[in-house]
């Protein structure tokens, strides 16, 4: 049973409650830094580190954090991890760090991270909190990567900087620009909603058939 429980917390972040495609949270980094796959991955990894780390700490300290000042406590914990991520990226991949620019410090303000602390980590034991964080951050990373990959393939004809179409490729300039982020995200959200709609329809049909059978 216990194993199932943590698996549930993990998988809901990846798919059913995906922070980007279902909850539509964390839009700022989502739209701003996904103009190439590598930027998206770097942003996703940084967010992953911050979310898992702060969920672990918040969950561990949940009985000591006073309810009245919990938001400030969460923010301080998150900001600590963001600072660590910021300097790590600067040391390891200075080029990517420069391209992400102000959006790394802005991870502090990512409502998905604060939302997980408030809604989940501060109420559940460490194991579940970490599984939830891994699921949510994994879902966020997946979403960032799919957006970044689509935009880089159409906008540059490349993936991770490797040319895919040869030199005669006509780049879709709009995909690299901010509107491309909105368009791509909109199309993916459309697909997700359509999928959920179809699934609900299917479940309703199954339920109706079962009622009829009995």
């Amino acid at each position: 049973m216990k194993k199932n429980e943590s698996y549930e917390e993990f998988i809901k972040g990846i798919w059913r409650d995906n922070p980007v495609f279902v909850q539509v949270l964390g839009m700022c980094p989502m739209l701003a830094v996904t103009n190439s796959a590598i930027n998206a991955i770097a942003m996703g990894m940084a967010t992953f580190f911050v979310l898992v780390g702060s969920s672990f700490l918040v969950s561990s300290f949940r009985s000591w954090i006073p309810k009245q000042v919990r938001i400030s406590c969460f923010i301080i914990i998150i900001a600590t991890f963001v600072t660590v991520a910021d300097y790590t990226l600067l040391a390891l991949v200075p080029k990517v760090h420069k391209e992400l620019g102000a959006f790394i410090p802005l991870i502090v303000a990512n409502c998905m991270i604060l939302g997980r602390q408030e809604a989940f980590s501060s109420r559940y034991p460490v194991r579940l909190a970490v599984m939830d964080a891994i699921g949510m951050a994994g879902g966020f990373l997946l979403a960032l990567f799919s957006l970044g990959a689509i935009r880089e393939i159409l906008g540059d004809g490349a993936l991770f900087g490797f040319d895919l179409f040869g030199e005669n490729f006509e780049p879709w300039v709009i995909m690299i620009l901010p509107p491309g982020g909105f368009l791509t995200l909109g199309v993916i959200l459309l697909f997700f909603n359509w999928f959920r709609f179809k699934k609900d329809e299917f479940l309703a049909e199954v339920a109706a058939a079962e009622r009829g059978g009995n």
């Binding site: 179409f165 005669n168 006509e170 879709w172 300039v173 620009l177 509107p179 368009l183």
Partner: protein
Amino acid sequence: MKNKDPDLLLFHAPLLRQGMTTPKAMRDVLYALLPATGASVWFFGLSAVLVLGACIAGAVLAEWFFDNGQPRGASLGDASGVLTGLLLGLTLPPGLPMWMALLGGFVGISLGKVIWGGLGHNLFNPALLGRAFLLATFPIAMTTWVPHGGGGELTGVYASNLALPFMQTGVDGVTAATPLGMLKFDQEVTPLTHLMFGKISGSLGETSGVLLLLGGIYLWLRRDLDWRIPVSILLTVMLFSSVLSLIDAARFPSPLFSVFSGGLLLGAIYMATDPVTSPVTPRGAWIFGIGVGVLVMLIRVFGGLPEGVMYAILLMNAATPLIDRYTQPRVFGRGADSS
């Protein structure tokens, strides 16, 4: 013996029928565009057919693909998809690769119409939205103009039309500038007769001003368009450029040049008058037209682009709900303050 013949006939409203339906109105606009379409084929040959065909195919494909009606394809019947495709095609450069035209038609219908809830619910003109998307996506291909043909070379195809999907053309074709581009960047004025009868380079539908006006008159006679919108747009543009050419005739274009150059006639007659995206009240129509005219001239004269009809109409489309709200006629018998 007609015992069924009653003394009193009872009907419920509506008692008057106009006989005008959406498919009829759409077909009327298509007929009105026929001369200009013919001219585009005359001047640019088979290329025009390819680009226009690809646009229409893209638009119809999107309409069919996203159609929620039963059976699928039910919304194709009103011909609005074909009209959007044709209008979009007429605003494109003749040498545009066909796959881009197809994409433009598809995006125009899907992002410009279907996503808002279908015909009658869209905020922006679908054809212009498709063009705006293409211009933002392929800025080079969308501003590469082929030189004007002498006319009559019906089998001519530009190599760039046939580029493979996702590819640009390897060949560097001969390019030319549009009259507005020449005015803006080279200070060169094109003679008015060329503008009127099509001896210019430009997008497919904007070459012949006279034929566009002809179609507009047909639509006006058929009561398919609100005459206030094109009239107010054209008058505003003429007034604006008259004032400018009084200030400095060498730098600014003459009023007639302003009216006949670029996509102004096409936009003013066929796109700004889209009944879905323009105000319904007469006062609103005047405000809308004046707004489009002022924006066109501001973009043309003071902006970085040579042509601004598309953005002017799209911007005023966005303002249409607001205009409609503030120009509601006073309900009879109510005070001026209760609205």
